[in-house]
């Protein structure tokens, strides 16, 4: 009898606790919903997501969190551990976990996480991009090509349905998938096919200037050095000044070298050493001087371009490049929305929490800009060793010619139309009443290769 009473008592106690818990969760949900109605999305998200770090929410709550994330952005979950993300069990957290596994080359878990994202979800095209990349890194090229194709189609569908910033996001996703298709063909040495895919990127796209370098590499490996040089010359246009990339200079020198135009190659190399390398060293000095300042890189993004250009020309280049990236824009969008929420200061808004969240976001942006800046500086310095190598090779070739008592058969000339190879769809443009920037990216030099040698007569 005693035991029987104890069991009944225990059962009642458990039910009571269960109800109490439920009501507490319900209250939290209602409170969060209230904030949502008042457009305090960040407060609402923190309230609900924090509670479900260790308990998987039901479908209704999951759907609610997804709606909130659409307003706040995903950066809130960046500081969550894998275990906490797994508990939330929503497409947003699945995508974040899949990406983390991709960086760790744990491809099996990438697929496991991505499988859970529904086809109609707004993050589905990004999930396909991650999936295709997982296949690519695992050297499953045909599967990767198929997924990237699917990714560009899905993203295109969303691009047509959405507007403004969202439209841009899906356009970038679509283009990223097309570029990755080109990259797979490039990797498999199908350079013509790669070029075809690169050409699918519209000139107005912010991704387009970056494809120029890759396309120039493809032409370089085909052996069309004139076209490669022509494409690289596009970076000299005032419109593309902020897209300076040091690798383009190396490729330029390499192309001249392959045409045996050693003097031209040496000019490019000298310019690299006399202009870009010192400028990069100066940038390093400027940055090191300010490094101790709190959130220096974050504040740098908001300083006037004229001012940053005065400090260092590369600084302007870097700021322009970074300000066009999707991540930066999404984070900035969240930052401004958070600001709005702080200044609105609705009843019940946790300003202290919001300020802490904003500080977190500032630090994330600061770190991201810092990493990008140092990557740029390091790239210039690592490529300067490649330039030095090329210079040595040119000097060695010149010495060999002298030892053999030989010289080049033809002198360097201005070039000839006969040296330009064209595809069927390419033609010479007269530029009669045309916008002068139309031709960007379609240049080709007509230089003759001077590699044939002759013996010097005494």
């Amino acid at each position: 009898m005693k035991y029987f009473l104890t069991i009944i008592f225990m059962t009642q106690f458990c039910i009571q606790v269960g109800i109490a818990k439920e009501t507490k969760l319900d209250r939290l949900y209602k409170k969060s919903l209230q904030h949502f109605k008042e457009k305090d999305y960040f407060t609402a998200l923190d309230l609900i997501a924090h509670r479900y770090k260790y308990v998987t929410p039901d479908q209704n709550i999951q759907h609610y969190i997804e709606t909130l994330v659409a307003h706040t952005g995903t950066h809130y979950f960046n500081t969550f551990s894998d275990l906490e993300l797994r508990k939330l069990n929503i497409p947003t957290t699945d995508l974040i976990m899949a990406k983390r596994n991709l960086y760790l080359s744990k491809f099996r878990y990438v697929h496991k996480r991505l499988k859970r994202i529904p086809k109609g979800h707004r993050l589905y095209s990004e999930a396909l991009l991650v999936k295709g990349t997982a296949y690519l890194m695992n050297k499953e090229y045909s599967k990767s090509l198929k997924i990237y194709k699917q990714c560009s189609d899905v993203a295109y569908g969303w691009e047509k349905r959405t507007e403004n910033k969202q439209k841009n996001y899906f356009a970038v996703l679509k283009e990223s998938c097309i570029i990755n298709i080109a990259r797979i063909h490039y990797m498999q040495k199908n350079y013509e096919l790669a070029i075809r895919n690169y050409e699918d990127i519209p000139k107005k796209s912010f991704k387009w200037p970056y494809t120029l370098l890759e396309k120039a590499w493809a032409y370089y490996y085909i052996g069309n050095y004139n076209r490669s040089l022509g494409i690289l010359l596009t970076y000299n246009s005032p419109l593309l000044e902020s897209y300076f990339t040091p690798e383009a200079e190396v490729l330029k020198a390499l192309s001249y070298f392959k045409l045996c135009l050693y003097e031209d190659a040496l000019t490019v190399i000298d310019k690299y050493y006399t202009t870009y390398a010192p400028r990069s060293s100066q940038l390093k000095k400027v940055i090191r001087g300010q490094n101790s300042k709190d959130l220096y890189y974050f504040n740098l993004m908001f300083s006037p371009l004229v001012h940053s250009e005065k400090e260092n020309k590369f600084l302007r280049t870097l700021i322009t490049q970074m300000s066009k990236r999707i991540k930066y824009n999404l984070d900035l969008n969240s930052f401004y929305k958070m600001n709005e929420e702080i200044y609105r200061a609705n009843k019940g808004a946790n300003v202290k929490l919001l300020l802490r969240m904003q500080r977190d976001l500032k630090e994330q942006i600061n770190h991201y800009v810092k990493v990008s800046t140092y990557k740029f500086i390091n790239e210039i310095h690592s490529l300067s060793s490649e330039m030095f190598n090329l210079k040595l090779e040119i000097l060695s070739r010149k010495r060999d010619l002298a030892y053999k008592n030989k010289t080049f058969k033809n002198n360097r000339s201005r070039g000839n139309f006969n040296n330009i190879t064209r595809e069927k769809h390419q033609e010479f443009w007269t530029f009669k009443s045309a916008f002068w920037a139309d031709e960007l990216g379609d240049y080709s030099l007509g230089l003759s290769s001077t590699c044939k040698t002759r013996r010097i007569r005494q």
Binding site: M187, I326, K327, L330, E386, L390
Partner: protein
Amino acid sequence: MIKIILFLVIICGSFSTFAQNKKVVYKYKEYEKFDLGDLEIKGSIIAPNDISVKSRRRKIFERKLLKRDDFNKKIIEEIKFLR
């Protein structure tokens, strides 16, 4: 008596073995005549008549110039730049 006879036999035996290890001195021919004109070597002469140096191909040291086999690093970087 038997002991004395045995002793004498042993002593005589040892003397006979010493007599067998006599020192032998080998001597090479003190004089031998070689007729060099009579010697004949079969084969052909391959050495050049005049002094010459065979031209040698100069070793070409090719440096490893920058190659771009893939853009995998960029692909990962771009995903990181998305969000």
